[in-house]
Symmetry: C2
Amino acid sequence: MRHKNPWVCRRMVKEGLRITQTRMVIIDILTRNPEKHFSAEEIFLMAHRINPGIGFATVYRTLDLLAQMGIIQKMEFGDGKARYEMTEAMENVPHHHHLVCTECGKVIDYTEFTDEEKELLAKVEKELSEKYKFKIKNHIIQFCGICNNCGKRG
Amino acid sequence: MRHKNPWVCRRMVKEGLRITQTRMVIIDILTRNPEKHFSAEEIFLMAHRINPGIGFATVYRTLDLLAQMGIIQKMEFGDGKARYEMTEAMENVPHHHHLVCTECGKVIDYTEFTDEEKELLAKVEKELSEKYKFKIKNHIIQFCGICNNCGKRG
DNA sequence: ATAGATGCAAAAATTTTGCAAGGTG
DNA sequence: CACCTTGCAAAATTTTTGCATCTAT
């Protein structure tokens, strides 16, 4: 099997997991779209277009697996569907967070973190980690509100 | 109808909504537990114990309504159930965030924000608000990782 | 009185599971 | 070849909807 994302494949091999065609299709979709936040259905449809044999259940199982390994992050913007995207631990994945419109569900990505913010976040993580004996792997930051469009209408 | 949370009731009246018994039961549960993050089912069970006539659908409808009004915040910790808690905009609700264990689902509340953190957060919100013309009402901050217990076992 | 709100039950939507068959190491 | 992984279909879970009835204003 061709290894499209060597970093992920190495981790899978190290954990005794098999590098299958279906998994590679899904990993490829996620790797090529590090700034997107796809739902399971969207990933299924894209995977299905590449290989029509792929089933919904396997997409869910693979997403769970990758989330468990810390390769992707599962999140939820309030519309009942889980979303998945590469974690910041991945190469070439810019640190980014989300602005979520509670009116229309629109999600804006927000990447411009200042050094001050990054440092403070790292400090907070370190403090929390020690205080609660919690091994922090990732964080989710969402700002919720009303987007430009909905603000005009509403 | 007795008004258990005058602040919320005033807002409801202002928006032409009716202050019903069912709504007050639900608002009371949420008001008395500002630091908890109940699922819809948990709220339904508690409401049902107070007034067995209350139905599941109304619980969902009321939670949606309150979330839409910005009185409660809907969030998701990765177990497929939405959670609801009073927003910081409410009186007497301490600013707090969550540490979520991705192994066992345990959620630890984290309230100790320094002034530095609060100021920076306010600054970031203001900047984002202007840059994206987004009226920010709230934020969700979650740190994801492995809790003390799961760390020992795993 | 009347428009909004409720409760029930049925439906929708998303996610999980069982199991025989297939693919990877 | 052994055993992990898959696909399908069925099941489980969570959330939403339709509609007659009730109730707050």
